[in-house]
Each structure stands twice: as C-alpha cells, then as structure tokens.
Symmetry: C2
Subunit: 682 residues, 2 copies
Amino acid sequence: MTNQEPRVVFTPSGKRGTVPAGTSVLDAARQLGVDLDSVCGGRGICSKCQIAPSFGEFPKHGLTAAENALSEWNSVEARYHEKRGLAAGRRLGCQAKIMGDMVIDVPPESQVHRQVVRKAATARDITMNPATRLHYIVVEEPDMHDPSGDFERVSAALERDWGIAGVRIAPRLLPILQGVLRRGGWNVTLAVHDDGRGGGPRVIGVWPGLRDDPPLGLAIDLGSTTIAAHLCSLTDGGVLASSGVMNPQIRFGEDLMSRVSYAMMNPGGADEMTAAVRSALDGLATAISEEAGTEPTDILETVVVCNPVMHHLLLGIDPVELGQAPFALATSSSLTLEARDIGLNSTGVAGQVYILPCVAGHVGADAAAVALSEAPDQADSLTLVIDVGTNAEILLGDKRRVLACSSPTGPAFEGAQISSGQRAAPGAIERVRIDPVTKAPRFRIIGVDLWSDDEGFAEAALATGITGICGSGIIEAVAEMRIAGIMDATGLIGSAEQTGTPRVVPEGRTHAYVLHDASADGGPLITVTQNDVRAIQLAKSALYAGARLLMDRIGTETVDRVILAGAFGAHISPLHAMVLGMIPDAPLDRVTSAGNAAGTGARIALCNIDARRGIEETVTRIHKVETAVEPKFQEHFVAANAIPHATAPYPELRAASALPDVSFGASGGEARRRRRRAVETG
Amino acid sequence: MTNQEPRVVFTPSGKRGTVPAGTSVLDAARQLGVDLDSVCGGRGICSKCQIAPSFGEFPKHGLTAAENALSEWNSVEARYHEKRGLAAGRRLGCQAKIMGDMVIDVPPESQVHRQVVRKAATARDITMNPATRLHYIVVEEPDMHDPSGDFERVSAALERDWGIAGVRIAPRLLPILQGVLRRGGWNVTLAVHDDGRGGGPRVIGVWPGLRDDPPLGLAIDLGSTTIAAHLCSLTDGGVLASSGVMNPQIRFGEDLMSRVSYAMMNPGGADEMTAAVRSALDGLATAISEEAGTEPTDILETVVVCNPVMHHLLLGIDPVELGQAPFALATSSSLTLEARDIGLNSTGVAGQVYILPCVAGHVGADAAAVALSEAPDQADSLTLVIDVGTNAEILLGDKRRVLACSSPTGPAFEGAQISSGQRAAPGAIERVRIDPVTKAPRFRIIGVDLWSDDEGFAEAALATGITGICGSGIIEAVAEMRIAGIMDATGLIGSAEQTGTPRVVPEGRTHAYVLHDASADGGPLITVTQNDVRAIQLAKSALYAGARLLMDRIGTETVDRVILAGAFGAHISPLHAMVLGMIPDAPLDRVTSAGNAAGTGARIALCNIDARRGIEETVTRIHKVETAVEPKFQEHFVAANAIPHATAPYPELRAASALPDVSFGASGGEARRRRRRAVETG
C-alpha cells in the first residue's frame, strides 16, 4: 500500500480506476460503472453483491494485490456466513472495503445484466435487462407532526437509496401497503417495473423485509391448438416450470378461419371465445405455479405471443375483419397492459402484460417472437424459418431483407386431427423408426429416454403409459411409413398383402398402420390411419406452399439454411420433415430444429426490454406477403401434395432407398379421389 | 386592400400580426397563438371555430376593415347555416379567409380556455383547461399491401391533424374501435385525455363521425353522511345536473370513528364499507345521467374529494391506521386512476379518475378542495374557512400561511341525528323564522320560492310536500328558538307555560317545538326536540373548538373574514351560525356562505389540470393541526357548549334583543345533566 489511492480492476468487465482507500467494493463498482447486483442497497442482507477478490501478482493489469488489500471480514459478513453461508473466496461487496491495489472478480450470479444460456437447441444467450426488479428499502416511520402518507415515504426511500424518482404504485397494492410496512418493521422489498416507455417506474409488488425469491414472469405462446407457457425468474431468466394446455377454443373451430366464421355466424361468439381462452390462461397460470411451488400472485409480468386471430380474441376484439380483405388488424403495435386487461387476474396474476407487435393481418406476434428468437434479419445467408403449428409462421431472408407470411396448415401437426393424436405431454409417442425390411416400428415416448425395443422400456413407460402420438411423432411416423414402403407417393397406405406386413390392418375402405397395440390388455391401439396421412399431407402442402411463395418473391430456388420450430414440445426431425416434403430441399446439416422458437422469443422479451424495442423496430422492416389472395399459393399447394420417394443423400436412408418404390393405387379410385379433393380443398 | 399582407387583430386577446391574403381565420389564429377552438380540425362541420368579424374604422388598432376584408360565404358555410343555423354576424373560422386588414372577435364559446362564471355565491371564474378534449379525424383506410393496424392509422391521423404524437388507447376501447371506424366511414371523433403528468395522451372515447355532445365529467364530494355530485361539460364547465344520495355507510356508523371501529372489530368490515360506497357512487352516476338525459358511459372523467377515512374506504384500504396515532395515511398524494380502480365501472362509467391530495391523516382531499375553491392561501386578510359536515374541515390563514384541521362534528348538521332531519332535497325546510312575540314559525322549503305564510304556498308545496328539515334549516330553527326565547343559554327548551306558547309540546321528560303539523291530515309532524338541540350543540361546539384551536396557533383572538361552506345544498345563514356560536365572532358583512365549496373545488379540478397541479403544491405548504391529540381542543369544546343571548349588532335581531333573556333550567337537573354529558362526551 502506498499513500496513493488504491487501483482496482474489476473482471470480467475489465473496468478499472482508483478509489479512496476504505471504499466498499459495491460503491467502487457503482463509481466505475461495473455491473454488480444489490437488492438490499448495501445493507449486507441480500448477498446479491458477492464478489471474489484476487491477490498476488497481476502483470496483465500491472499491479500487485496484497492479502490486506481488502478489509477483514466484518461482523455483518460473519453473521451472514453463520446464518446463510458464504462460499470460500467470496465476500459481500457492500461490506468489504478496498484498502490497496487489487483485482476483483464479479461472478455471473452477481451481475444484473448477466447472460444466461438458454436450454433450447440453438443455445443462444439471453442478456438480462428485465423491466421488473426488486429493491429493498428502509422506510421512515410516520410522524404525526409532519404528516405524510406511507407511500410517499416509500417513494422517498426509493429515490434516496436507489435513485428512482417519481415512482407510482399499482392501485391494487394500496390496500396491502400499510400492513406490509408494519409487518416488515418499515423494511420492505419492492418490485419496481419500468420498461423505459415513458410511463415511469411503478411499484407492482411489495413484501415485508428482504425478499429472497426472484420476481417471476410468465412467457406464453398462445397457439390456435395448444398454449405453452414458461414460468421464468426475472433475475436470471431461468425457467422454473413449463406447462401447456389445449386451447379450449378448439370447440368453436379447429383452425383460425373456422373461429372467425364462428364469430361472424354467432352473436356473442367472439365473446365466448374470449372467455374460453382467458379462462385457459388463468388455469395455466395456476397449474404452472403449482408445478413450480409458487403462487400465481408471484407472477409480476407476462409476455404473450400469438397469431392475429388469437391476439384479437384474447383482447376481446371480434376477429371479423381478419376474415376478409384487407385483413385489417384493430392494432398492430406492441401493447403494454395490465393483467386484468386480458382477464388474467382472477387467480391473482397481477402486474404488467406485454404483447409483441403483429406483423400483419395474418402474420402475428408469434411470427415477431420467432423473428426475435431466430433473428433471420441478422443472418449472413438466406435463412428460412418455419414455425410449425395450426397456423404456420414462415420467415425468409437475411441481413438485406426479410419476408414473412403465414400458412393455414390446420391442427394436424399438433396432433389435433390425428386419430391417435395428442399434445406433447408425457406418454406421447415423439420419435418413430420403422424397419424397412420387417416393417416393424420402434418408438420413444415423452418422459422416457429409452426406445420401445430397449430393455426396461415397458417398466419405464408404466409411469406415464403410452397414450398417443404428438406432432413430432406423427411427422416421423408418416415419413417412416413412406421410407419403409408402407405408403406410396400419393400417400396411399398399402394393404397387408401389398406391403407384406400384418402391421397394416383394414380400416373401412382404407388401411391403417399399427404403431402400438395394447388393446388385448385393455390398453390403447395406436395407429396411423389413411385419414391421418391425408391430414398431414394437406398440412405439409400448405407449409411448403408458403415457403415456396416467399422463395418466389425473393427469386430463389434454394435456401441456405432452414430452421424448424414448433410449439409442440419435442423437436421436429429435420430428416423426416424433408422426407415428408414439408420444407424445400436443403443440405441436411443446414436444417436445424429450434424447438418452441415463439416461446423462446416470448422469454427473451420477458427478460430484456431492449429486445422488445428491437423486435418492434425489426417488425416494421419485415415485408409481409398475404397468402390468402395470392394465386401462386394455391398452385404450390396442389403441387406439393405428393410424398416423393426418399432417396439416398442421407446415410440413415440408405437401406430404405435400396428398396424399389411402391405404388398402391395405380388401378384404384382412391388416389384420384384424393387428388380431386386436394384440389377442391385448395 | 393593398399589396401588402393583410393585418389582423384578434379580440379579446389583442393578438395581432400579418398573414398571407387567403389565409383562413382558423389558420391565422393558430399562427398568431390565438385561442380558437376546433374539434373537426377545419373541416367546416363542428362549428366550434365561429368568429365575429368587425368592419369599419378601428383607430385603436390603427386599421380600417373593408367589408370585403373577409371572403364571401362559401358553400360549406351555406350548408352549415341551412342545416344547423349560424347566428347573424358569425362566420366559420375555418372557412372564412382573410383578404384584407380586419378585426376579428373570438366569442367566449369559441375559446378553448374560456372562463366560465360558476353559479355559486362567490361567483369566481373557472378557466377551462380540461385533461380530456374531443378531436375529429379522418383516418386512412387499410391497405392489404401495406398492412397497419386500424389504431396505428388513427394515431397517425391524430398526429397529422392535431399534432398529438404517441397516443395510446384505453384497452377497453379496442373491442369497439374497428366497428366505430367503419360505421363512421373512417371519420371519427376521439376523446383524448392528457393531464400533463407524463403519462402521455390516451384515447378514452371514440364515436363515429363528428360528435356534437361535449365530453362529460363527474365531480363528486364524497362525505361521511351525504354524497353530492355534479355532472359537468368538460367543454365549458357547465353543470348539466346535480344529484346527491345518503352515504350507505351510515349503517356501519354515523361518524368516521365509528366506521373505523367497525373495520377494526369486524373482519371484512372495511371491505363491506368499500362495497357499499362504491355501489352508491355507481347508483349516483346512473341517477345523475338519467337526470341529464345522458348515459353513464358518457362520463369520461371523474374527480373525487373526500375526507381521509372515506378516501381509504373508497380505495379499498382498511382505515385502521387513521384511528390511532400517528394517523398515517396509506398515501397522501393526489391519485390518477381508472374508473374501475374504484369500482366505478359497473354502470359503464369509464375513463380516468382524479382524487385530490390529502392534507394529513384527519384533513382530507375535501379540505384540499375547499382550499382550491376558497383559496385562503391567496387572501390578504386573515380568513377562516369552515366546511360544515359530519367531519368539518377548517382552514385559517392568509397569503403568509394557512393552517388546517378537521373536527368531528357528527352528522347533525347534515340532518342525520335530527328527529325530523333529512338531506337537502325538495320538500326539506331550509329557512326558518320565529316571531319573537307570537313564537309562531314561518319557513321555506327547497323547491318553493315562497315563505310558508305567503299566499299560494300551500299549493306550491303540494308538488314536493313538506318532508323534514335539512342542515341549514335546523341551524336556523335552533338559532331562531334561542332568539325568540323558546330556549335558554344552556340549550334547554322551556315548557309551554315557561315560553307562553302552545307551539312547545311535551316530549318525554323534555319539550319539543312544533315547526309544522300536518298530522291531522295524515301528514308529518315536524318538530325540533331537546335531543335535536343537544346534537346541534355538540356539533357546533366541535366546530367552534376547531376554529379556536387554529386561532390559538396563529395567536389571534379575531379573524377578518369567515367563509361558511357545506355540502348540504342550501346555504348556511351566516347570521344564524353566529347566533348559534358555530363560528367565532366577526363582522356580519365579513361572513359569507360559499355553498358546497368542496364540490366546487372538485369541479375546478375537473375543468382545469393547472388547478390540480396548483392545489397539489398548495397542500404541501398547509400546516396541519391534529385536534385528536390536542388538549386545548377539549377545553374549547366544553367551553363552547352554551348558546349566549343574541344581542344587538344585527338589525334583524333588534326586536329579539329587546326581550329579556330566559332561563328554564335554574332549578332543574336537566341543565346540569347536559353539562356533565358534554364533558364526558368531549
């Protein structure tokens, strides 16, 4: 130590400077602009400001840190360690004082703007910059002779300790504020929301004393058929629980246009559908909170992404205008609302709701969320992003421009028009392989890591049962049936005689392939029927036609990269998607599966207000293509009906491709009928 | 006319300048900063921009205006005149074009910031600067190939035509927006709220085409016993209807402290009271709208003033803290809320709610409203403002400083503890005179301009009946009984024998004075009983004690001016208030009656956002005195119980003062009992 002010270097930021000897590490971090968290404001009770001091020679930083460069443990640290434990090498930044030159590491969990690696396939990082943060304050007690309201003293403390001026309070908190202040002995933790939109800071949660639990947010991907939700920590973005339910609006119509028709034909129909979806969201909030061991009242922010029809129905807007040209949205901008504005408050969910912007009348906030998650607008090479669902969102572009459209695929990919279909949940078949020679299937179910022909599968599957086929399962099953010669290029399933396997059984005038038969024991019989195949063919043709339309517009026959996304839980197999003809040809290693990209986009928006601003800006630059009035869409749709013979670029298919192709309907009327029907439906 | 640009002078503002020939008067007004209204934005349909051109010699302005200085009537003006009529000498400012030098008068009704003389006694002006204004816009139709939301095009039109950028929309309007736009053929009128608080402009109403009706606001004075409301035009501040109801919380306790006790003793009691008052406000909104021939849904803004306990109960806050030192309010600042936040939306009232700031735990937003209306802080001489109610608000001060306290007078002054009492409504006795010689009464009732001994009174009173005594009536009745020698200084009513009039009848062990007896015809018997007198004595002692306490604090024995205010409709007679000893002595010509000053303050805040900011600032400078813990308050209270003999400074009392004073209780126990009770109650 010298008489000069100590020099301090913070890692990993590399920020450095000198501070007067005796400055706490937290104060030094603040002075030097280092990202060091604190909820209690330096009172030594929240432990969010933990740091790891380094001592010794640091030639890189040009300094030597003596052991006594940091003050000794003080009584606050000792008490904290005794009560809650402080890991070896860690100190409380608000207590430890800088006495000499030193290097201080801020571990990731002590950074406010930490980066969190998300679990999904692409493993992109989410930078935390949430709208809602916790702040611990000590509030002055009331003085009869200098009267002021309790909230006014809360506000003063927030400004004094955290520099947050002019805070307002959610009216629903006024009835509990006085009790919380007194229970906490005038020490409280506030959740303060500020999304930087000019609305100013707003208290949306208050708890007595120091609150250790992070503020929670709910990211909802509201699809036509399924609703998926992630309960997230707004501190580190971690997912505490994920859950999903079927959209109860299915009873009003399986696809979007039938719901719009329902609203047009039935007075009050739109309101019925609004009530149904709101009550489903309420139920989901309860279920996901239970799963995570928290309460719906702990959910302080919600982000919703959805297609335009769901968007309008959630907001209580009759979607009739979306059913006819010019497909005008009531509002296309992002929305910042309160939970009660979308009826999300009946189970106690409160706080703020953010709904991403819509791109156009048929391209919704879910497409915006996919764009946020997969960022085609930042890609160097031409990237096709397909979000598979009852209404598919398709984006094509690169840094130069991005085009978007939606395609009404119907609910088949979400298991909803499939005889044994179900949503992705434990017990659902999600992976299928069919031996091209024996025509015998093997499969995996959600919740069990073994294949059905692995030892111990039967026991492992007892917990969930084998209950049906989810979206990714049906895609693989149909593609595998084609590879194994059970189905021909028109999609017709051959008879047991034609295919040479008793796995194919008659079903009316057509045939079905048996994936799993536990009917002898009173269990389910899970088959892929001719109707299932037809539904998948219609869906995949619509998907393909949408992608082709965007390629036409850009003037390309090929794309460099394909990203497959879908809300239905398990990942879609790029290989099988390509065999099926869902997507344009691309090198298999350039086709990736992104899981629930819309849900990921919702999570990113939940965790980072800059990302909200960013996607709002991006959406204005996306060029929208309206498939509903585009004649070429119909042409592509009809042309895409067939499932061509799977040939050999992919090693896994070599055995299959060695087999000759099959054709079961050469003489029959079924193929012709089906072609005709496809044209009419188109 | 010359080749130079025409010179134009606007009156009454005196603003002047030159504009290119052919400029419309509306555009010229905008360029020169002249306050000229317009809702349709210059389309010639709203007629709000009417002006009166002047022609001839104007030596004062140094110009001569030729008859052709203004363009001829155009077809828009002709059509407007044909359809709706344009008064002689009036032109539409948006159509008439300035062609030469001229003087243009902007009549008051064409000024946005017009001043409106209010009806109340003090006849002060209200300058209009409301938060909510109407704007007519023509919205671009949707274009499928350049998709944008309907609201985004509304927002663009508002910015283009009115310079209002970044508007948001109340979520409740999203479901109706698309229908209104299409019904109006893309022409709509918006109600835009902007109170300058940084929340930004917000669409809170939307109607197809041009809306002629003004936006409406509701000013509510929420008292412990009565709730008074004015339905006002937000365009000119005019009162469309006034209405009142009893506060249904009376069943939980007549005064504030009994309600606080009810909340403390009964779990859920505060919620019960919240529900009761909210439902009363809802009912009042419906009733007042019916009276004005409007709908509750037309109410776009509401201002509420009330005492702290009512404030908390309205907001759903348990008032328990207000029942014990240090009397901490949950929040003392003004509040800007939505109608639904105070449960005011069940009948369709929507839009924004503004609640004035509270001064302290016992001095509420009603005191702030009285300060706003009567402005003691701007008085040159020492002014005492007393707002008489179940809880009286008392302000004393001048430009240098203002002190405030509240005093628990009880509901007697609002007719609630009075045997024949009722709230101020048609049929209630509001004025009373008793002949000092014959002891016979005469009176006036609300709704009839004649005295009861005038010819034709009986017929005129048939419409309403004679139903009871309101607050101002009981004050006059008790004072007149004292003047006429029916009651002695202790408040004891003499017997028929002692007073020499059969108007006094026995009532139990005491006596009552008969004001009106229609019992022979099955009508009411309206008397002033000994209990009534006692209630009035307690109430007036509390009032007087509060005023005296503030005078002590300022160190004065006299005040220069007294303003009596009260929510109970009819004005309090200064003379009788002084006879009763409600207020400290002051020259009678310096005692004025301000009617419902709190209600007037609420109306001012409704009509002018600068007034809101002003009173918020004023409130921080008011010094609060807490009567509940002030021993001198009790002393003053006990000392103020008597009703001294009315003597002669006032001409009206000369006859009475000629009579010797009376004393009925010299030997009786009643006076002693009453003195003892007064001490105990105190």
